[in-house]
């Protein structure tokens, strides 16, 4: 068995499943938003803010945000292990990617809950 400490879960199966599940969440979220925008042609700020005031929409958005982070982590982890062979450089780039995703997540929570 090949070992790795920087991938998402413990096994390849877990990473593989997470990438698929997060892809479904992101797909559903995108379709929902696109449908919402199409269905409300004269959307104004109040209506838009009203949508994001609802608890289910906040949870849905947070779920999409977390999915984006997981999806990007598995994907970028795969790309960096494919193409960047020097370990120190690879780890550095992975750390930067991880940091960016973490920042997006915290920032997203702040926006959603208007903290």
């Amino acid at each position: 068995m090949v070992t790795s400490v920087t991938n998402l879960g413990r096994t390849g199966a877990f990473d593989w499943l997470m990438q698929r599940v997060s892809a479904v969440v992101l797909g559903v979220y995108t379709l929902f938003l696109a449908g919402y925008l199409l269905a409300s042609p004269d959307l104004d700020y109040a209506q838009w803010a009203g949508l994001f005031d609802q608890m289910w929409m906040r949870i849905f958005s947070l779920l999409a945000l977390i999915s984006l982070g997981l999806h990007a982590w598995v994907g970028l982890w795969t790309i960096t292990t494919d193409y960047i062979k020097p370990t120190a450089l690879r780890f550095l780039i992975q750390a930067v990617c991880g940091l960016i995703m973490f920042v997006y997540l915290v920032w997203g929570v702040e926006i959603l809950w208007g903290l």
């Binding site: 090949v2 593989w16 494919d82």
Partner: protein, 234 residues
Amino acid sequence: MLVSLYRYNPETDNVPYMQDLEVTLPEGKDLMVLDVLHMLKEDDPSVAFRRSCREGVCGSDGMNINGKNALACVTPVSEVAPKGKLVVRPLPGLPVIRDLVVDMSIFYRQYERIQPYLINDNPEPAIERLQSPEDREKLDGLYECILCACCSTACPSFWWNPDKFVGPAGLLQAYRFLADSRDTATADRLDNLDDPFSVFRCRGIMNCVSVCPKGLNPTRAIGHIRTMLMQRTT
């Protein structure tokens, strides 16, 4: 006919180069690429390549012909070089020993890692270990592999991680033993594959399927292994 041949002799050449050679093919006869290589070798005995059975059974003359991996002995010149120029290179991604001869150690190491033999801890019966015709049928499309390495050396995932990703040839054989009703080591075999590289580095590009000279489908076998891994983790 013009043949562009990859040449490299580490004792005399600093870098590999392509050598243009002219051969006169006999009229009204469609030769195999291997026949052309033999004609070249008659003119220049230093041309190096592997071959044995010359009928697509031994798997030793896998090479890259006009950009696609194939067995030289069963590849008709007319099919791969309709425009009259034959380009022959060694299998990509493996260290070149000389000309078309590559070092296949890493390919065999991956094959060895999947334990390509029957493991059965049960006491041996007085007769053979029997298998129903249905169970035997599950091995069709798996056991026929001749380990020519055309598939693994056409796979980008194997190029980038030949030390960690088993590759299509090894995984086809891994599934051949996972699917065998007489094998009792299924759990151990799966343990050995359940990391992010060995199986999951396959991105479903299917280069392996498009080059296999035996018409086998490693991608499907990899899909079966993935399903088996998912079934025990979820």
